[in-house]
């Protein structure tokens, strides 16, 4: 009661109620309920509307089974260390799944390596006005929407794109490089898409690091890499983790960039999910696939957080 009373005392009745219902509505109605509905749907058969709620509408693991073993009559078998287990295996979906996760991890790592020096530079050097302009320059491109940015990358990386034009005219290549087929465009697009979500948390963390600590380490004889390893990175760790988490989650769940920039042979797991929902008209299976992706990503993030000894509470800082 004391806490609740204090809450209303601090915020006033009207604002208090608004906060309570606003946040409650947001979390419950917009996040929890739809996800629960999805979870529920993923355990059901794909029935025509007339049969929904009827005797055939029962819970099933069929959708998850399909992710693992594929269609009935699937000739692929699970091989363990070259030994044929005889168990059918959904090679396509599972390999796309792992490739998506690994690629998302790679994109995250790439973004981290790219952003850390930038964030350090912006956060530690008192570059004042110039620094603010620089941050603004980073933000402004994100006023352009995602689809437009993705298509712009197509133009950049296309056969007759700007990059090929430059390479050809500089005589570096004698015929256009196929950046789309080689997935260069895809990874560049994905890497660029969420870069701000990497820079800002790290920048925020590093900005609050006392400059004297860096100087103290230097004064004690430390070379620059050890200063980063022992002083700056441990301090910025919450920012690094929150940046990496967001970039990883969003990259693994990206749809626009893979749709627009992906090569003909590369499929992103979200595209498979999208196909089940859209052309496949099988929402139940789409839900199951989406749930698999969600839990895999959350699990991986939690695992990495444990590995790097980061607590959940630190990320919110």
């Amino acid at each position: 009661m004391g806490a609740v009373g204090g809450f209303f005392e601090r915020n006033g009745l009207l604002l208090g109620l608004y906060l309570l219902f606003g946040v409650g509505f947001w979390i419950l109605v917009l996040i929890v309920l739809p996800q629960l509905a999805m979870l529920d749907l993923s355990f059901r058969h794909n029935l025509p509307p007339s049969l929904v709620g009827g005797p055939d509408d029962v819970y099933t693991l069929e959708n998850y089974r399909h992710f693992l073993v594929g269609n009935p009559g699937n000739p692929d078998r699970l091989f363990l260390f070259g030994w044929d287990t005889g168990i059918p295996f959904n090679t396509i979906d599972i390999s796309v799944f792992f490739r998506t996760i690994l690629a998302a991890l790679a994109v995250t790592l790439f973004d981290l390596l790219l952003c850390y020096p930038l964030a350090y530079y912006l956060g530690q050097s008192n570059i004042g006005g110039f620094g603010r302009i620089f941050l603004l320059l980073l933000v402004i491109p994100y006023w352009v929407n995602e689809i437009l940015r993705a298509f712009a990358f197509r133009i950049l990386f296309g056969n007759s794109g700007i990059l090929n034009f430059l390479l050809l005219n500089l005589g570096i290549v004698d015929q256009p490089a196929d950046f789309i087929r080689a997935d260069v465009a895809l990874y560049a697009g994905l890497g660029y898409a969420y870069i701000l979500l990497m820079i800002f948390p790290i920048y925020n963390a590093i900005e609050s690091l006392d400059r004297n600590q860096i100087e103290a380490a230097r004064d004690l004889g430390s070379p620059w890499w050890r200063i980063h390893w022992r002083v700056v990175i441990p301090f910025a760790k919450p920012g690094i983790v929150s940046g990496c988490t967001m970039v990883f989650m969003l990259t693994a769940g990206a749809l626009a960039a893979p749709q627009i920039l992906g090569g003909p042979s590369s499929l992103w797991f979200t595209q498979i999910i999208y196909q089940w929902f859209n052309t496949g008209q099988n929402w139940a299976r789409g839900s199951a696939y989406a749930v698999v992706l969600l839990f895999a990503c959350v699990g991986l993030v939690l695992l990495l957080m444990r590995l790097f000894k980061v607590k959940m509470g630190e990320i919110g800082k």
Partner: protein
Amino acid sequence: MSRNVGVELDALWVRFGDFVAVRDANATITGGEFFSFLGPSGCGKTTILRTVAGFQAPGGGQVRIGGRDMAGIGPNMRPTALIFQNLALFPLMKVWENIAFSLEVKGVGKTGRRKRAEELLELIALPGAGDKLVSELSGGQRQRVAIARALCAEPDVLLLDEPLSALDLKLRQRMRAELRAIQRRVGITFIYITHDQGEALTMSDKVAVMKAGVIEQIADGRTIYNNPATPFVASFVGENNVLRGKIRAVAEGFAQVETPDGLFRGRLRTDATLQPGGDAMLFIRPEAIALGGGAENRLTATVEAEAFEGQATHLQLRAAAGQAIKMSLVNRGAVRDAHSGSCHQLVFAAEQAVVLPAGELVSE
């Protein structure tokens, strides 16, 4: 253990853009000495220390450590260790890791580092605190950890930037004594910054008094107090009365100064260049003024306020021509009648008054 590495500032200038933070500083700091820079806020003390540590490049002149010009040598390669104004301990490392950081840099193994850290914890009287986090220590303990961390690097010169300013009075006094004891024990050169004159005078072998980027005087504490080189030093260090006037006559190390309140005689510095007719200031300490008669310098003044402070009574007086006078009377138990409104004859000896060419005083 003493390595006796001295530091020389040779015509040192430091500029930030157009702003001159240090102007033509010259100082010779002997190895093993406890040397203090004393001056009001913003006078360039930290700047000098950072220049010696290597974080700030001189805009002119040289810093020499152990006779070697330090130009182009980075802070991590200099035989100095700096204790920052805010200590700058590493909050995410344990106390012993903080202390042994310089050894980690040198590639010393964990057992060796731990052992050295424990020895230093012993030295700073914090045995057993090695596994704590910095945030679990009190202000004074952090202070000592910062000292241990700097000493662990075995610097030839330890640079301390107002390391006691954040502590309360009692702790500060204890830490002063401890710092001095540590300095005697390790025998290395200490360059100490403070704007607390008591601190500078009690701890230092030598004090440099600074004003707005300029070193006004370098001497031991006694000389700074008794024989200030400039009006700024005279008014900044300790309490002082200043009587303005013109030189009437100069003879045998003494000068007569003509002031609105009369003619006074005071000591000249040996390097004095004052000539009769020149603008001068005569400084006399409150404790050097007495009630009564006899001495050659006399003036009458009325008590405006008195403050009893146990061992002494501080009086605010005003002389006939408007000159404000501060004086302190040691309490010898006798009943004095120096109450407000009473008029007295004040005297002081010429040996205790200092005559300097008129100049800028410390701004209150």
